[in-house]
């Protein structure tokens, strides 16, 4: 239970995209569909898992001065493996769509960030847990954004038509808004999701603060903090 809770904490509370604001480049670029989002999320998670394990194993051997370079070499090695594996095994369609973004996982700041902030300071088991939690969070966000953009922009989910595209009937129900799968749509969707997450976070924080407020002498600073979090607009 404790493990599950800490996993969820990693995936949701310190979510790489919404919590830490890391790895936004592939998040914006490849989430044009659920499939792409899932493939990217899984590839990055696998690299994260492997690099976390290896780095936590060899953390004593790495000289402090050149640690970033060492991390990058380790990550690049795993990314190369994943890339070659994906070229061999994944459908060509996905490989074409993800294209350059698979090699670019090397410079994905989530992976480097976890290596620096967690794997180099913790044991192997904890690092595996960290990688799984963060990887799940990242893949989940990519799938979520991919689903929204695919549904709105193409009217499909996982390639299957959910609602009608253009029909020749003069009064079709509606047509997908192509903007969602284009670059501006990525920014708009991510921006709105940021707003939503912040709103939920603020509300939860306010609720916690209210619940944790016992009947006691309150200082003016307390009041101010409470007022600030309550006055935060609920939507972006």
């Amino acid at each position: 239970m404790n493990l599950l809770k800490s996993l969820l904490d990693k995936a949701v509370k310190s979510n790489p995209v919404f919590g830490l604001m890391l790895g936004l480049c592939p998040t914006l670029a490849v989430t044009t569909s659920v499939k792409n989002g899932l493939a990217m999320g899984l590839a990055a998670s696998v690299v994260l898992l492997c690099s976390n394990i290896l780095i936590s194993l060899i953390k004593k051997l790495i000289p402090k001065e050149v640690r970033i370079a060492c991390y990058i070499v380790v990550i690049a090695g795993f990314v190369t493996m994943v890339e070659i594996l994906m070229k061999a095994l994944a459908p060509a369609e996905i490989n074409n769509q993800l294209g350059i973004f698979i090699p670019l996982i090397v410079v994905n700041c989530i992976i480097l960030g976890r290596a620096e902030a967690f794997a180099s300071r913790n044991g192997v088991v904890a690092s595996i847990g960290d990688a799984v939690g963060i990887g799940l969070g990242y893949a989940g966000v990519l799938v979520m954004i991919g689903a929204i953009r695919e549904l709105v922009g193409k009217g499909t989910f996982w390639g299957y038509t959910v609602w009608s595209g253009y029909s020749d009937a003069p009064e079709a129900l509606a047509a997908p808004a192509t903007v969602a799968v284009l670059a501006p749509g990525a920014f708009i969707v991510i921006g709105l999701l940021f707003g939503l997450f912040n709103a939920i976070g603020n509300r939860r924080q306010a609720a916690q603060l209210a619940a944790a407020q016992p009947v006691r002498f309150t200082t003016s600073a307390d009041e101010k903090a409470k007022g600030a979090s309550a006055a935060e607009p609920s939507a972006q």
Binding site: P176, P184, S234, A235
Partner: protein, 387 residues
């Protein structure tokens, strides 16, 4: 006994309020709306109504969510709704104005903090979004054109004298056809330049050739008897509306004038060949071809979204620079970008993106054109230097 009223300054107050200005703009846009209802039928009014309704509902919803006062009575959302609808053909599906208005209000306006805080003109963002979303709806291969026999007045006679006759309007009237369809003038201008058979002779001859063949009569294009988007067809009525706003003092005349002037000059000059050939062409246009030489820039002025953009969108108080000098820079920049996109870009129409780009530059322009505070120093500080 007389009472002496003692009050603190200011003693001279403007009676203008946001609502008053906004509803004046709505009033200025109404003639163009009425004309489009006449030209394109109820469909145009239905699209506009739907757009306005969506804009107002979204504004109220967003303000409710943001826990700010609901200010749908000030008319700013109504203007956005009208302008979004004005940018689309009357033939669009119902969801196009709905999506456009909702995007304009929710994303471009309320996400940035509501009226006065938005970086980009909401209506233009809405237009850009539906433009890339519903390309088929927004760029129909042909627009419905209701050809109405132009009235014979001294003005139309004068203009007719200066322009070319096009048989399409006459034919339609002669054969008692109620409506024919045709491509938009902007598409003609774009395609005409690109088609190989037009590349014969000097630029003047090219334009004349292309325009003679396909373009509508200039007078028709001026008062609105052309295919196009709901609110963009009638340059005449849009101009009339903006004259009202200028008289009321809500729009400074030089901003639209500079925008339109820049477009006219560049559209006349840029297509010229370089060197002595160009100079020769100018003389030829002025002497031999007569007013035909002026046709091309004139079509650029009256066709497409330029009038609507220059008169009502580039003059938006929120998204244009504060100082007169800044507004001049802004207007000229819009004009340059519009002509560059129209002549050399991929799109036939560049008004929307040019104004959006210049909106982005407004903080910079404001910084560069900060007026000197009265009584402080004689020399202007270096551009961008903090005061």
């Amino acid at each position: 006994m007389t009472r002496l009223t003692v009050s603190s300054s200011p003693h001279i107050r403007q009676t203008d309020s946001t609502a008053k200005i906004m509803w004046s703009v709505v009033a200025a846009l109404t003639p163009a709306l009425v004309l489009s209802g006449y030209l394109f039928g109820w469909r145009a009014l239905w699209v506009t109504g739907l757009s306005v309704l969506t804009a107002v509902v979204c504004e109220a919803l967003a303000q409710r969510l943001r826990k700010t006062p609901v200010t749908i009575g000030d008319g700013s959302a109504v203007i956005t709704g009208i302008l979004v609808a004005f940018c689309m053909p009357a033939t669009v599906h119902w969801y196009v104005p709905v999506f456009g208005s909702a995007a304009a209000i929710l994303i471009a306006k309320q996400c940035f903090g509501g009226l006065g805080c938005n970086i980009w003109n909401p209506a233009l963002v809405g237009r850009a979004i539906v433009h890339v979303s519903f390309a088929k709806d927004m760029n129909p291969s042909s627009y419905p054109v209701v050809h109405v026999e132009p009235s014979s007045s001294w003005l139309s006679d004068v203009l007719r004298h200066f322009t070319i006759d096009v048989t399409a309007a006459g034919d339609a009237a002669a054969t008692a056809v109620d409506a024919i369809t045709g491509p938009s003038p902007m598409a003609i201008l774009k395609k005409g330049l690109a088609s190989p058979d037009a590349l014969v002779g000097s630029p003047a001859e090219q334009f004349t050739h292309v325009l003679r063949g396909q373009a509508p009569h200039l007078w028709d294009a001026f008062w609105g008897n052309i295919g196009g988007n709901i609110g963009e067809v009638s340059a005449l009525l849009l101009l009339a509306g903006v004259v009202y706003l200028v008289v009321k003092g809500y729009v400074r005349w030089y901003s639209p004038a500079l925008y339109l002037g820049t477009v006219a000059v560049l559209a006349a000059v840029l297509p010229l060949p370089l060197g002595p050939e160009g100079a020769r062409w100018v003389w030829a246009a002025a002497l031999r071809s007569g007013p035909d030489g002026m046709l091309y820039p004139l079509y650029h002025l009256v066709c497409g979204g330029l009038m609507l953009g220059a008169l009502y969108m580039a003059t938006d108080m929120v998204t244009s620079p504060l100082s007169p000098r800044g507004q001049m820079v802004f207007a000229v920049g819009c004009g340059v970008l519009t002509v560059l996109i129209r002549l050399y870009g991929g799109y036939p129409e560049g008004v929307c993106y040019s104004i959006l780009l210049m909106n982005t530059a407004v903080p910079l322009i404001d910084r560069w054109t900060r007026p000197r505070v009265f009584g402080t120093g004689h020399k202007k500080p270096a551009p961008g230097a903090s005061s």
